[in-house]
């Protein structure tokens, strides 16, 4: 208990001292997680919308596969991407391994199923009367789709929040593809793992506090947006 309390107090002092190393780690984490979330959203939201909105053969199978991919372990994604970008892999010459780009690639693969399935759920649960009303008021298919997208925006926001939460907290991909290089690919979670290995809990606890604060702030921001949008 003393260890936790001491670490906690020291972590607060470290945060107050504006330690450069600490903030570099936080910045890398935010940059990588934001990039992955943005790219996955650009792919996953339209894909989810199209799957939910359109009827096509094999739709159920696609949804089942996506649901299965929700349980994808980060180490599996790490291994999978590693085989492509390692020196002997087909993308080896691009020198992606142990870069932030490598982490982003892995994280995008990890969260595309999350964004897509959450978007499918959000769009599928929208009352069919919205579609009928838009059509009877003379809307084209595209205008109807835009309206449905607007009505499903809270669910889609939830998809983005969940995805961001998943990538900012993951450690497997960042470690395997980023390599935990100080100042380059060291993220909050990889740094925490390293500090734990070294038996240095202060930085680990400080990073943990920052991680939770970021998640809380992001959720607070989206809640605020949702509240405004519902008016």
């Amino acid at each position: 208990m003393d260890l936790l309390l001491d670490s906690f107090i020291s972590a607060i002092l470290l945060l107050k001292s504006l330690d450069a190393e600490l903030y570099a780690i936080v910045l890398v984490s935010l940059k990588v997680a934001s990039s992955s979330t943005l790219i996955a959203s650009f792919i996953g939201i339209p894909a989810g919308f199209a799957i939910a909105f359109k009827e096509f053969p094999g739709k159920r199978t696609v949804i089942t596969i996506l649901n299965t991919l929700l349980a994808l372990p980060t180490v599996v994604v790490g291994l999978f991407v590693y085989t492509f970008i390692s020196r002997r892999g087909i993308f080896g010459p691009l020198d992606l391994l142990y870069t932030q780009k490598a982490i982003v690639i892995g994280q995008v693969i990890l969260i595309i199923p999350i964004v897509t399935t959450f978007t499918i759920a959000a769009i599928s649960h929208i009352d069919d009367r919205y579609r009928k009303t838009a059509i009877t008021l003379g809307a084209t298919t595209l205008q109807t789709a835009v309206l449905i997208f607007r009505e499903g925006r809270f669910g889609i926001m939830a998809a983005v929040i969940a995805s961001f939460g998943r990538v900012i907290a993951e450690v497997g991909i960042s470690m395997m593809l980023g390599g935990n290089a100080k100042g380059f690919t060291r993220t909050m979670t990889t740094a925490m793992a390293l500090e734990y290995d070294k038996g240095e809990f202060i930085l680990a606890v400080a990073l943990g506090l920052i991680l939770l604060t970021i998640s809380f702030t992001v959720n607070l921001f989206f809640n605020y947006l949702q509240g405004r949008a519902r008016v």
């Binding site: 919205y130 003379g138 949008a229």
Partner: protein
């Protein structure tokens, strides 16, 4: 001619829910589509507002044969709008809801503003323009939905049970709006309702629907019951194990029956001795219906009786009073 329908059917899961051999609706009129729940009113409205293709049949709208291809329908949908029984408003302000149809028609902003205010005035909702649409009561929602449809300047508006979920105040307001839009704006109105009084009050013509088919008149007092024959050879229908109505039928087992309210005789309870066709009950409601009086009597089941004005004057009854009813077998149709 507004709509011409020939051999129209709609089948859902192997069940024919609509079967109309022929129906013609004229322009500029208010049509009441009258029938009990499940008679196919909503399905017919959805087909006529081009939201649902029929399974078979031909529809002519405004001298144009409808081919139900998406590109063809888009043009027609700008002229025909349906307001649903429980309309849904978009998650935004009342103003933006009403503006939607004009926006998708790419009307200029200034014009949109003018029309939105005009139609909100017409339905008495101008003061709610900036209100959040999802915070309105069901009556207000219905009025905004009507304004949203009117903003598109349609030639025809279909209303599906427009007052079924609203309070009396809104019901009166909505009925006034329906009359107004037909008389002042010349919009043809097709109104689906199961309320006979409302249909009579608002419509120029009434189309009766029963079990998906046009009927010569509305079936009322519809009950499910079991047909049996007693020791004396009389065939009767037992409803809810309470009421025995003598019927003329060869059918057996569970059936649906309809009792014609105009053919039921009603007397003060003391004047009648209980017979095969007689029941004693209590009057629970009296309403004026275009000169006649409609009495709702509880005889174990609620049954509606239509009494002629003169007949009523001769033997007036009051709510709460005990009365006797006679339902002759000829007043009962086994369906």
């Amino acid at each position: 001619m507004l709509f011409g329908i020939k051999n129209l059917t709609k089948v859902y899961g192997g069940r024919k829910v609509l079967d109309i051999p022929e129906l013609t609706l004229e322009k500029g009129k208010v049509y009441g589509l009258l029938g009990p729940n499940g008679s196919g009113k909503t399905t017919l409205l959805e087909i006529l507002s081009f939201l649902l293709p029929p399974t078979t049949g031909k529809i002519v709208y405004d001298s144009r044969k409808v081919d139900f291809s998406e590109s063809f329908l888009r043009g027609l949908r700008t002229e025909v709008i349906m307001v649903e029984q429980q309309p849904i408003l978009f998650t935004t302000s009342v103003y933006k809801n009403v503006e939607f149809g004009l926006k998708v028609r790419k009307k200029p902003k200034k014009y949109r503003k003018k029309i939105v205010h005009e139609v909100l005035d017409l339905v008495g909702m101008r003061g709610f323009a900036e209100a959040s649409a999802h915070k309105l009561s069901s009556g207000e929602t219905q009025r905004v939905a009507i304004a949203r449809a009117l903003a598109c300047s349609p030639k025809v508006i279909m209303f599906d049970e427009p007052t079924s979920n609203v309070d009396v105040e809104n019901q009166i307001a909505i009925e006034g709006i329906l009359r107004d839009i037909n008389v002042r704006k010349g919009i043809s109105v097709i109104l689906a309702t199961h309320n006979r009084i409302q249909a009579t009050k608002l419509s120029d013509r009434i189309v009766f629907l029963f079990n998906g088919k046009p009927a010569s008149s509305i079936y009322e007092n519809i009950f499910s019951g079991l047909v049996r024959t007693d020791g004396g050879g009389n065939t009767y229908c037992l409803i809810h194990d309470k009421v025995r109505l003598v019927v003329w039928t060869d059918k057996t087992g569970y059936v649906k029956i309809s009792v014609n309210p105009e053919m039921i005789k009603i007397f003060p309870a003391r004047e009648v001795s209980s017979g095969d066709h007689g029941f004693v009950g209590r009057v629970i409601q009296l309403t004026d219906e275009g000169g006649d009086v409609r009495a709702l009597v509880d005889i174990g089941i609620p049954i509606s009786v239509l009494i002629g004005r003169e007949e009523y004057k001769k033997a007036p009854i009051l709510t709460g009073e005990r009365v006797a009813l006679v339902c002759p077998p000829e007043s009962i149709e086994v369906m």
